[in-house]
């Protein structure tokens, strides 16, 4: 009975909601949603903190730092902060707030954590190379019909499907 509130929204309705948020983002700001950009800002500002000169001279970091601009005071960082709050509100309303390591019973906690870290690292790396993640490149890109969006989307889901068999233990 306690799982009564644990139900998720109808996927189509949730999709509609997400679509409306995305549309609002386009209408208000002219850009879609994103997430990996905010993570990059965190990394960039971290590197900048550690060694400003190094960041300044690096081809990669120097693109995102300039003297009058703080990488953390950016649109995407605030947006991702909002995601954190929005997710929390929704989780609280649906009674889904609890510290939990989600995994398949077939694998150990340790393995799940390593998988998460490796997966995260791959995703982080790929999102930089591909100029955006599922939300920034694929979802927002598809909404504006950008070729990059469709190509990235197909590459992500195609690869995931292709590799699914090898990692089935993790999830099933």
């Amino acid at each position: 009975m306690e799982n009564k509130g644990n139900k998720y929204m109808n996927p189509y309705l949730a999709g509609l909601l997400l679509g409306v948020v995305l549309l609002a983002s386009f209408y208000l700001t002219g850009r879609g949603l994103g997430a990996s950009g905010a993570m990059k800002s965190v990394v960039v500002s971290g590197v900048d903190k550690v060694s400003h000169d190094y960041a300044e001279n690096s081809h990669f970091y120097s693109k995102y730092i300039s003297n009058d601009q703080k990488p953390l005071r950016s649109w995407l960082v605030l947006e991702v902060f909002g995601v954190l709050i929005g997710g929390f509100i929704s989780g609280a309303l649906s009674g889904r707030l609890n510290l939990k390591l989600e995994k398949s019973p077939k694998i150990t906690n340790r393995k799940r954590i390593w998988m998460a870290i490796i997966g995260g690292a791959l995703f982080g790396f790929g999102s930089q190379l591909g100029r955006g993640c599922t939300s920034g490149a694929a979802l927002s890109g598809m909404a504006v019909m950008s070729l990059a969006g469709y190509v990235t989307m197909m590459a992500i889901f195609g690869t995931a499907f292709a590799l699914a068999y090898f990692f089935r233990k993790n999830w099933i």
């Binding site: 995305l22 649109w75 997966g119 790929g126 890109g141 070729l147 590459a155």
Partner: protein, 200 residues
Amino acid sequence: MGPIIPLFEISEEINLLIAFLIGIGFGFALEQAGFSSSRKLAGMFYGYDITVLKVFFTAAIVAMLGLLFMNYMGMIDMSIVYVNEYYMASAIIGGVIMGAGFIIGGFCPGTSVCAAAIGKIDAMYFIGGSLIGILIFGQTYPLWEKLYNAQYLGSLKLSDSLGIKDGILGLLVIVAAILMFWLGELAEKRFKREDISKEI
């Protein structure tokens, strides 16, 4: 006419506030859809739960149709709206790496933040991993710089490269999505796993 912020030179603070509000909406929608659960996300690739497919394509279609109609009604200037720049090599290779990351880690950056917000420990590790991955990319950037900037084709739209109207592409995407929804729901029935569905 939109997009409002770039056109009306709205102040930075309001812009950031709107970013925050949109983020809340984004996070709320993701969490409600169940994107805060890695097994639900991964379910799509094994056919037992195709929520990702449904939500993702519904959202893309809603936003796409919205933009098409808003453009028709003169409410938005599509020449200002950001269209992702297409670097063929890096988009494909980056996408493949992300795909591998998705199936191994079970999240993507947006959903991991959302999942971390409700206390999923694996999501927190995923975020840490992402930061490491970005740092690795930043440190080894000179190695990838050439690939990163190769085959630049500009802010290309799929409709333009196919030579069709935006609206017709929109229709094609809708039809394709409905077919996928239908197939996906068939798969959901076929690969149904009660135990997992309950655990999620």
